[in-house]
């Protein structure tokens, strides 16, 4: 510990602290622009100059390490004079166009200029002008306002992992730019808007929409990936206009993925329903709620009476709230059916689970891992901020290896990598398992021949103290997901490490907790569709895009006698197969809870009034339960539903109980597949109903129409070149798609994204495909 004095206040700080760290610890504010606690030190703005005893000139607090006995003055005449001088310099070339600047009211330069600037400028000469850059559909630029703090540059380099911006030219000509004509395409790009201390980088979708002081700020939780990012949702006149991160060191830190930040645009989509709809005599009609609910209750009662409760199935979105899930399960079981599932993109439900599958550790513990194996994950796009944590771990010396069906650039150094066709992944994982067992001197009954790369990964894994294996979305959606789970469990056992699942959706863990999965011998998401039911309750999901096999889902729903859809949005598909569509609130318009991938229960309130006659889903289900005369549906609040869902006691526990990744009774299947296999990713902006309707995100490069991607050898096999048309089919209707070269794919694989209208009719997300030249 070091002792120092700041403005007469004595304090102790950790070895290696800088003066600005120490000041923050003492609650003393030092003005700054380029300093940011999560970024490297650049010390280029000089705003943080302070006086240090015995130093001949002012020193930058952000770059001056504390020494024992140091005396710092942040408000002495010398310090103030230096700070004022720096401010005068910064404003020389600044356009001072605050009245037309979106940053006005939340601008560090504006704030500090009030504190340290003078009321008029001594500078009479010409100011410089910097040409704006096109950074893509999310970030708008006014580069003349830039003060060259390089926070944005350091973010792309250090946090996002790819230097997409740089500071070109020199001295007074220096400007921030991407490489000629490139845009900033990172899935974390929006964070540079928050980081920019001036109005040089602002949010394009929010441009000129409101002034910061006109906005109400309300806390919420992201409904997208398993992270459960904490949000500040900003609302004006009952419209969500912007989303910013709410800092939470356990989860999103001070960042947000672009999906969490910009998906709010989907809340204002023209697809939003405002009134219940019922199909009468083949035509859709807007009706009052009581009429709609009566209709639904009757329909369900009739089906149960006629065909038995087993004829009803519930398909629940894993992005829905815990409360909705719980009430949906209670409703189904009240009717006598156990057919409910929210694991819509999964297809292998074999084996016996001991509890709720989860991350197997706290998210914050990922940073401390020293050896990691990531199994089948499109990590950057599926879990942008978890990828970021691993990136930081790698920088500190952790070794990360991957086993996957597609070679993707994770923007971090990898210790080992196995890329193989989906059907061969169980075998490869078994090889790693066996190699680890051999290295650990354990007996292992897996009969596989260990390859060189598997051995290399095994050697890396055993060389650490704190290893973990993370199963990604593709591992969970894999046709032999249980085999992958069981092998991972075995591998973690040999390693003495942990393992877990990177939760696909905001409430993937919550779905188990709320029993939105079969509790007994009910049908799972896959069997509910292969063994079609007479009636379906579809909650929040768009099964044609959200299920493992969209074709099968559409067929089953089209053939059913009754399909009741609860959703904020209408879609052409639902209008075709449903007979009642009830407008229920998206996350911003209801209270509820999500249980994130680490099992953390996060409850939130509505930030906004529901649109039109939209109602919170839990209230709709409560009324339905009552109309169906089921017991136990008189909840006074969503909190009461949550408390019951979490197993009794009032008050919210921090974490859900019964988290356990152990699986038993799995028939390990290592047999290789054959033919052309599909590798299906769910692109980041096609993953759920809300983000699919967010227009700005849909304009990004991550949202381009999926192509049929193959490696060079596979393309040659079909005699096609990149750019040519190709006919592909996987059991559904053949689709004509553009062929594209993807050097990161194994032989005989066709990478075809799911979750998109152009590929929905093709068939299942995994399995054999037929390909021919169109």
């Amino acid at each position: 510990m070091l002792e120092l004095e700041i403005d007469g206040k004595a304090l102790q700080v950790k070895e290696g602290s800088t003066v600005i760290d120490a000041a923050h610890q003492a609650g003393i504010y030092i003005p700054h622009f380029c300093y940011h606690k999560k970024l490297s030190i650049a010390a280029n703005c000089r705003m943080c100059l302070v006086q240090v005893e015995k130093a001949p000139k002012p020193l930058p607090a952000c770059a001056t390490p504390v020494t024992n006995g140091m005396k710092v003055f942040t408000h002495s005449d010398l310090a103030i004079k230096a700070q004022k001088g720096v401010m005068e310099f910064l404003l020389i070339n600044h356009p001072l166009d605050c009245p037309i600047c979106d940053q006005g009211g939340e601008c560090q330069l504006q704030d500090l200029a009030v504190g340290y600037g003078s009321s008029s400028s001594r500078y009479q000469e010409e100011k410089r002008v910097v040409v704006n850059k096109n950074l893509g559909p999310l970030i708008s630029t006014d580069m003349t306002r830039c003060i060259n703090c390089t926070r944005c540059v350091r973010f792309t380099q250090e946090i996002a992992g790819e230097m997409e911006l740089g500071q070109a030219f020199r001295g007074d000509r220096a400007e921030i730019m991407p490489f000629i004509e490139k845009t900033v395409d990172s899935e974390l790009s929006g964070n540079i808007i928050d980081l920019c201390p001036v109005g040089a980088l602002t949010a394009k979708p929010f441009r000129f929409a409101a002034r910061t002081w006109e906005l109400a700020r309300r806390k919420s939780i992201s409904p997208h990936d398993g992270l459960g990012g904490n949000l500040v949702v900003q609302v004006k006149h009952d419209k969500v206009l912007r989303v910013l991160p709410l800092e939470n060191e356990h989860l999103n830190e001070c960042w947000l993925s672009d999906k969490d930040r910009f998906s709010y645009e989907g809340l204002n989509s023209p697809d939003r329903l405002t009134k219940p709809l019922i199909k009468q005599g083949g035509a859709w009609k807007e009706v009052e709620w009581n009429q709609a609910l009566d209709y639904v209750a009757h329909a369900m009662r009739d089906i149960v009476k006629e065909h038995g409760p087993d004829a009803v199935g519930a398909i629940v979105s894993p992005h829905g709230t815990l409360e909705e899930m719980y009430l949906a399960g209670k409703l189904m079981r009240g009717l006598g059916s156990d057919n409910i599932d929210c694991r819509l993109r999964q297809s292998d439900f074999s084996g016996r689970r001991a509890g709720t599958p989860w991350l197997g550790m706290k998210i914050a513990e990922i940073n401390k891992l020293d050896r990691v194996l990531v199994v089948c994950s499109f990590l950057r796009k599926d879990h942008p901020l978890i990828a970021q944590r691993l990136r930081q771990a790698v920088k500190r010396g952790a070794q990360v290896s991957v086993i996957h069906a597609a070679d993707e650039d994770l923007l971090m150094k990898l210790a080992g990598k196995i890329i193989a066709a989906p059907s061969q992944l169980p075998d490869r994982l078994a090889q790693i398992t066996k190699a680890v067992a051999e290295l650990k001197g354990a007996t292992c009954d897996l009969s596989v021949a260990v390859g060189a790369e598997a051995r290399k990964i095994a050697e890396s894994l055993v060389s650490g103290q704190n290893a973990a294996i993370l199963l990604g979305n593709l591992a969970q959606q894999h046709a032999r997901a249980s085999t992958l789970n069981a092998l991972t469990q075995q591998l973690a056992g040999y390693l003495g490490g942990r393992f877990g699942f990177l939760g696909e959706a905001a409430n993937s863990v919550g779905g188990y907790v709320a029993k939105a999965v079969p509790a007994g011998d009910g049908l799972d998401a896959s069997r509910m569709l292969t063994e079609p039911r007479k009636a379906y309750l579809v909650i929040g999901a768009e099964p044609e895009l959200d299920c493992a096999d969209g074709v099968r889902a559409t067929n089953a729903l089209t053939r059913a006698d009754s399909v009741i859809v609860l959703s904020p949005f209408k879609s052409a598909a639902a209008l075709a197969y449903a007979d009642a569509i009830l407008p229920v609130a998206p996350f911003a318009e209801t209270s509820g809870s999500f249980v994130n991938t680490e099992g953390r229960v996060q409850s939130f309130q509505a930030v906004n009034r529901p649109l039109g006659e939209t109602r919170p889903g839990w209230k709709v289900l409560r009324v339905l339960g009552n109309l169906l005369k089921l017991d136990g549906f008189d909840f006074a609040s969503s909190e009461a539903v949550r408390d019951e869902a979490l197993g009794g006691g009032a008050g919210k526990p921090e974490f859900a109980g019964d988290l356990d990744n152990i699986i038993a009774d799995v028939a390990i299947d290592l047999s290789p597949g054959g033919g052309i296999e599909r590798v299906a990713d769910v692109p980041i902006y096609f993953a759920d109903a809300l983000v699919r309707r967010a227009p700005s995100l849909q304009k990004t490069k991550d949202a381009v129409t999926p192509a049929a991607r193959m490696n060079a050898a596979t393309l040659a096999k079909f005699g096609v070149k990149a750019g040519e048309q190709l006919k592909v089919s996987g059991g559904g209707t053949p689709a004509t798609l553009v062929a594209a070269l993807d050097v990161g794919l194994p032989d005989d694989c066709l990478r075809l994204a799911a979750g998109h209208a152009t590929t929905a009719a093709v068939g299942a997300m995994s399995g054999a495909m037929t390909v021919e030249k169109a």
Partner: protein, 163 residues
């Protein structure tokens, strides 16, 4: 990078690799200045494609190579004439006729700074201190040949030498 073919010749790449070998293996990008120089020598100037080629050869982001190429004024980001004359106009030279030398050249060649004569023969540039302030006015021919005490007579002589 971007699947575009590297535009540098085998020979240039071999020369760059010799520079790379001077640094630790995981710090290839330390050779960026030398690599850009080699690319410029081969191509005559540094196009975006050339900078991208250098960057991809050194496994570094293109923008990071562009930062370097745009920082130093001996890298040419636009095509130049056969002879590039860089006149030092920094303060010590300016006090000893550096600015006059630049003015004289402008008049003689009929072009402004950062311009090239229509016949493509001369490009005029302004340079930073060349470490020879005592010999002012000084200028550099094609980045390599240093000329001192450049009075109008000497300049005329230099121009005559440039065929």
């Amino acid at each position: 990078m971007n699947g575009q073919p590297n535009m540098l010749s085998q020979e240039a790449r071999a020369r760059i690799d010799r520079e790379v070998a001077k640094y630790p293996t995981d710090q290839k990008q330390s050779a960026v200045m030398a690599a850009l120089r080699i690319a410029q020598e081969e191509q005559g100037w540094l196009s975006n494609a050339a900078i991208e080629s250098v960057a991809s050869h050194l496994d570094m982001p293109a923008i990071a190579a562009f930062e370097v190429a745009s920082f130093y004024n001996m890298y040419d980001l636009r095509p130049i004439g056969k002879y590039k004359l860089t006149v030092c106009t920094n303060l010590p030279c300016a006090l000893s006729g550096g600015v006059h030398a630049a003015e004289y050249l402008k008049r003689k060649l009929g072009i402004d700074l950062n311009e090239t004569t229509p016949d493509g023969k001369f490009t005029l540039k302004e340079g930073e201190c060349m470490g020879a302030c005592g010999d002012a006015p000084v200028m550099l021919v094609n980045n390599v040949q240093m000329r001192c005490f450049m009075t109008p007579d000497e300049i005329d002589k230099l121009l005559a030498e440039c065929k």
